[in-house]
């Protein structure tokens, strides 16, 4: 069922890495391999990024290739467009997804549509990296999860790795993609676990989900920091005799419809978990996919466990905003006992 094309270029040794180390490793590899790679953003050079995603890179590759920019999101994305159409491969870091809005116009009106407007004469193979999500007691505005602002935008791809392995593979895939890719990095997962990550170059195919747990009764669909919430919920449900299958979507556009359809046809029930707001969340698109592909297999209406239709609250209340394993279990029981 997991038909994931994952190309290991060479079978080198692996190393224990956190997600943030895997991100750093991917950029280091690409800076070494491809002269066109330019990393730019606020505080990413000397300081190595506020989360240390670019730690040590400027030291090795110099200020021309790892660039501390002015505090200017539209400037970062706008100049990246110019660099990308003129032969470079910029990787722009936006310090937090909640700070991307000044650059939204550049992304919406240029990054995503210059290929279309110029009938492929001009293309912008660039990557925008942005830490996102709540749950790390960050100051306000730092915790947004507004991925559907970008999945709604034709012309750009959106990926969201939840594990160190996927983070490195997806980021390298994004850096090699001929089209612009937004890489959403769940802050909560930056250092939450270590796993074996190959030292060499490999890619995780954009557009493919990952089956992280096989089960028979219900499909849980999640991404980013919500994957571990789904996993905890599945453990709790197991104690109640319920067998959960979990899909980590990994790419939010284009979505792996086949994996969703196949799983829901088997389990006949689905619970979608996302920390983004309820209305207009990606859960709606997933419901549409299930509606289009597996409607007659369903034994219960699909449940969504999501953030609420409120701005992400100050961190003293963020635990009440975020989906919890307990809320997910409630959803699971609801679809089981419909």
């Amino acid at each position: 069922m997991t038909q994931v094309k994952e190309s290991h270029q060479k079978s080198e040794t692996a190393k224990q890495m956190t997600l943030i180390q895997a991100i750093n490793d991917a950029m280091r590899l690409m800076l070494e391999e491809d002269d066109r790679t330019v990393i730019l953003g606020e505080d990413i050079g000397k300081n190595g990024g506020v989360f240390r995603a670019t730690d040590g890179l400027q030291e090795v590759f110099g200020e021309e290739r790892v660039v501390d920019t002015p505090l200017s999101e539209a400037g970062i994305i706008g100049t990246s467009v110019g660099l990308a159409v003129n032969g470079f491969r910029p990787v722009a870091e936006i310090q937090f997804l909640g700070f991307i809005y000044p650059a939204y116009e550049q992304i919406m009106t240029h990054v995503s549509r210059i290929r279309m407007r110029s009938m492929s004469r001009f293309t912008v193979p660039m990557v925008i990296r942005a830490p996102y999500g709540a749950g790390i007691r960050a100051p306000e505005i730092h915790s947004d999860s507004t991925e559907t602002l970008f999945t709604h935008m034709p012309g750009i791809k959106v990926v969201c790795p939840s594990s160190p392995y996927d983070a490195k593979g997806l980021l390298i895939a994004a850096m090699e993609d001929p089209d612009p890719v937004l890489v959403l990095e769940p802050m909560k997962n930056y250092r939450s676990k270590r796993e074996e990550v190959p030292v060499g170059k490999y890619t995780v195919e954009i557009g493919k989900g990952k089956l992280v747990r096989e089960g028979a009764d219900v499909t849980l669909i999640a991404w980013g920091a919500m994957v571990s919430i789904a996993e905890k919920a599945a453990e709790q449900a197991e104690k109640k005799g319920i067998s959960c299958e979990i899909i980590d979507l990994r790419t939010l556009y284009p979505i792996d419809s086949e994996m969703i359809a196949e799983s829901v046809k088997k389990t006949t029930r689905a619970v979608i978990i996302h920390e983004a707001h309820h209305t207009g969340g990606l859960g709606n698109d997933i419901i549409s996919i299930i509606n289009d592909t597996a409607f007659l297999y369903l034994r219960a209406p699909i449940e969504r466990i999501t953030g609420f239709d409120v701005p992400v609250p100050f961190f003293s209340l963020e635990e009440h905003y975020l989906p919890t394993p307990e809320r997910v279990v409630e959803g699971i029981e609801k679809v089981l006992h419909f």
Binding site: A74, G75, T79, G82, V85, N86, E105, Y253
Partner: protein, 351 residues
């Protein structure tokens, strides 16, 4: 502040030298080239308005009155430079090498109209105001990184200087000292809003101070001032001295687009300050012995023929391809988009 930025002129309104230093640099070839291109783009512009009125072209943004600014600056470029125009700068892009037929196609709602010849790096015209300014900084940055002598020019109007992207683009360009010329055409109005309601500064050139780059204010209807000052800014950029902000003061004679009526929002009082740039060059040609009736007659006929041929080419251009709605969004079409395309083509009975 204003007195720090006097308007630089080489010829006056009657076509006499005010700066004799340039007498030796101006020869017949340059005079004729400037005149030819100004006449050529004016012929295009007037034809486009007529076509729009006849329903043969979509909404059109005319530039009459700004020919000296657009031609003078475009002739100062090298072939390998990058051009980032707005929707009112097709006079400049026509001069730099985009074809008339292609330009007509753009105003007829065709994406093909965004595509310049392969040997000309001309970006599709920016519609969201000022957004092209950081692009020019980025493209110029790439040239600097590669160590070439190429540079970029960003065209924009007076209203654009109120947008964040103007400031972000200029700031990036000056911080990284990239070879770019920010070419402002201050035509007095952003659609209906006059400059005095747009900004509290008397000039646009003075905004350069904030970015530590040279700022110069020129008579945008003096094609020589535009040409030589733009060239100077490019020489400076190519020598590694970074960006320049040029304010070319000019006047948009007509409407913002064919969809508005300027008599609703402005009187023609200010128009009196501006002598038509073509007429002014004619005065100069008469004053200094360059005027040649037969030549003008000949290029008039030539440009009219060129425009007519371009209209014909536009109108005979193959109809748009439905597939193009879907085919240029991604290098490789995602499955969900392919499904949408397939379903729509089936709906049209095409498959």
């Amino acid at each position: 502040m204003e007195h720090n930025y006097p308007i630089k002129r080489i010829i006056d309104d009657k076509g006499f030298f005010v700066d004799a230093d340039y007498e030796e640099q101006i020869d017949e070839q340059l005079v004729k080239e400037l005149y030819y291109h100004m006449l050529r783009i004016r012929t295009f512009d007037r034809k486009a308005i007529n076509l729009q009125r006849q329903g043969r072209l979509g909404t059109y943004a005319p530039f009459e009155g700004q020919e000296a600014a657009q031609v003078g600056s475009a002739l100062a470029l090298n072939d390998n430079d990058w051009v980032f125009p707005t929707y009112r700068d097709h006079g400049a892009t026509l001069t730099f090498g985009k074809s008339m037929a292609t330009t007509f196609l753009y105003w007829n709602g065709r994406a093909e109209g965004c595509i310049a010849p392969a040997d000309r790096q001309i970006f599709p015209p920016a519609v969201p105001i000022a957004t092209q300014i950081p692009h020019a900084a980025g493209a110029a940055w790439a040239e600097k990184k590669r160590g070439t002598k190429n540079a970029a020019i960003a065209y924009f109007g007076d209203g654009a200087t109120s947008e964040g992207d103007f400031h972000e683009g200029l700031n990036f360009a000056s911080v990284f000292k990239v070879p770019v010329v920010f070419f402002n055409q201050n035509n007095g109005y952003a659609i209906s809003v006059p400059i005095e309601k747009q900004m509290n500064s008397k000039t646009i050139a003075q905004k350069s101070v904030a970015y530590g780059m040279p700022g110069i204010r020129i008579d945008g209807n003096d094609c020589f001032a535009v040409y030589f000052e733009t060239k100077k800014a490019f020489d400076n950029a190519r020598s590694g001295n970074g960006p320049t902000l040029i304010e070319a003061v000019t006047w948009r004679k007509g409407a913002h687009t064919t969809a508005d009526d300027p008599s609703k929002y402005r009187t023609e009082e200010r128009a009196k300050d501006f002598v038509d740039p073509l007429l002014r060059l004619e005065f100069f040609m008469k004053n200094y012995g360059y005027y040649d009736d037969a030549w003008i007659q000949a290029i008039n006929e030539k440009t009219t023929r060129e425009v007519e041929a371009a209209v014909e080419e536009m109108e005979k251009f193959p109809p748009p391809n439905v597939e193009d709605v879907f085919d240029h969004v991604y290098a490789e079409m995602p499955a969900q988009l392919a499904k949408q395309k397939e379903a729509y083509l089936a709906h049209l009975g095409r498959k």
